[in-house]
């Protein structure tokens, strides 16, 4: 089990966002987390690398229990792709991808650079190595962000609404890269509203509402035969 969450609670002031969430992700599995806004999906995924500190419950990543002390060790094994990309604007695409290997994994530059170029080529941006983020489209930025995540050689990648900040016509290029990653066996936890992606790529869809997981299952049954009225209502809404 690569991710194991038990009875996770998190509140922001008076607002209880997570009310006891359990989640398991196996190696090589692609888990898509769906649910209406405010259901706690983003908070949940941000608890997995301690960008949010849970109030109660446990998170285990690759066997390590996640605490403030173990955060760095856990973050070395995970990577995150953000809704707003969060590329480093003062660095070129290549430098963005090399930063983790140089700063954290202590890879020598002579090795990090060709690897970074290869990763950028893999996300279809071989010709954009020397571009600063400001010169890239949203879809290109997000692909650089995915290359940057891959450069950490993570055991699991956390995607927090990776296409939500993009113009509709740019979704496809990002989803295509994610689809390939899934096919290559990368373990992925993806918070998204992309039902088509979930249907096609996910091994399991987890549906959250009101701070708990209320339904989960393989996309075949999740989409065709939803077991919960809230899921049915949500899917109707998304489809329309």
């Amino acid at each position: 089990m690569i991710v194991s969450v038990r009875d996770l609670h998190k509140r922001f002031g008076d607002l209880e966002v997570l009310k006891g969430v359990d989640l398991d992700v196996e190696r090589g599995e692609v888990v898509v987390v769906m649910g209406p806004s405010g259901s706690g999906k983003t908070t949940l995924i941000r608890c997995l690398n301690l960008l949010e500190v849970p109030d109660a419950g446990t998170v285990r990543i690759c066997g390590h229990e996640l605490t403030k002390r173990s955060a760095r060790e856990v973050r070395r094994r995970t990577a995150m792709v953000f809704q707003q990309f969060n590329l480093f604007p003062h660095m070129t695409a290549l430098q963005n991808v090399m930063e983790g290997p140089l700063s954290v994994r202590r890879v020598p530059r002579a090795q990090a650079e060709p690897q970074a170029r290869e990763l950028l080529a893999r996300v279809g941006l071989a010709d954009k190595c020397d571009c600063y983020p400001a010169k890239l489209s949203g879809g290109q930025k997000q692909r650089v962000a995915i290359a940057r995540a891959l450069a950490m050689k993570p055991e699991v990648i956390l995607f927090d609404e990776p296409t939500s900040a993009l113009d509709p016509e740019l979704h496809a290029e990002v989803l295509q890269v994610m689809r390939e990653l899934a096919r290559e066996g990368m373990t992925m936890v993806v918070v998204t509203h992309e039902t088509a992606f979930a249907r096609e790529v996910a091994d399991r869809v987890v549906f959250m509402d009101g701070g708990t997981v209320i339904s989960q299952g393989p996309p075949s049954s999740f989409f065709t035969d939803p077991d919960h009225p809230r899921v049915r209502a949500f899917l109707r809404l998304v489809a329309s």
Binding site: R72, A79, M80, F82, N86, F88
Partner: protein, 215 residues
Amino acid sequence: MDLLVDFLPDLLTGLCVTITLGVVSFVLGSVVGALVTVARISGSRVLRASAAAYVSVFRGTPLLIQIMIVYFGLPQLGVEIPPIPSAIVAFTLFSAAYLSENFRAGILGVDKGQWEAAASMAMPYWRTLRRIVFPQAIRIATPAVGSRFVALMKDTSLASAVTVVELTRVAEGIGTSTFRYMEALLLVGLLYWGINTLLQVGQQVLERRMRRAYA
């Protein structure tokens, strides 16, 4: 014009002293200011409070008083510092207080997502500051820091109060010996303006260079 010719050596010396006071104090003030900033955003409550107190004191008291305390006051405690170093000490501590606020504003201006991206890749705190946050903070802080530099250049005229023979003191001297205060003061005023115009041009070049990545 004849004043300029007659007193050229004095004026040049004064100009050099003024520029030295300004540049040295600015550089040292930036270093001290950066340390104060790091203390102000640190996790330690004691460090944060001391840094805040420092800023409050040095921003909240007149620069002239600070200069006079260093030059006239400290000897009472057995610390005697010559005029120019005295002035530099006071200017450094004073501008560090202001610069630390400019730097802090720069750091707070860096998007929270930048810290999160660095944290998510397990980058240590200091490395995050150095590689990710500082380069962006400097760009944000540059306009304010440039204004601080210009203000400091003008503030160096206060060193004349502790016998430092910089531009203002030179103008006074010329005035006393020739009774042509108006021309002397206008002349050094023009020189200050010249220095600061150069500084402003420098700042614009710097800003344009730093904007290149973002355009």
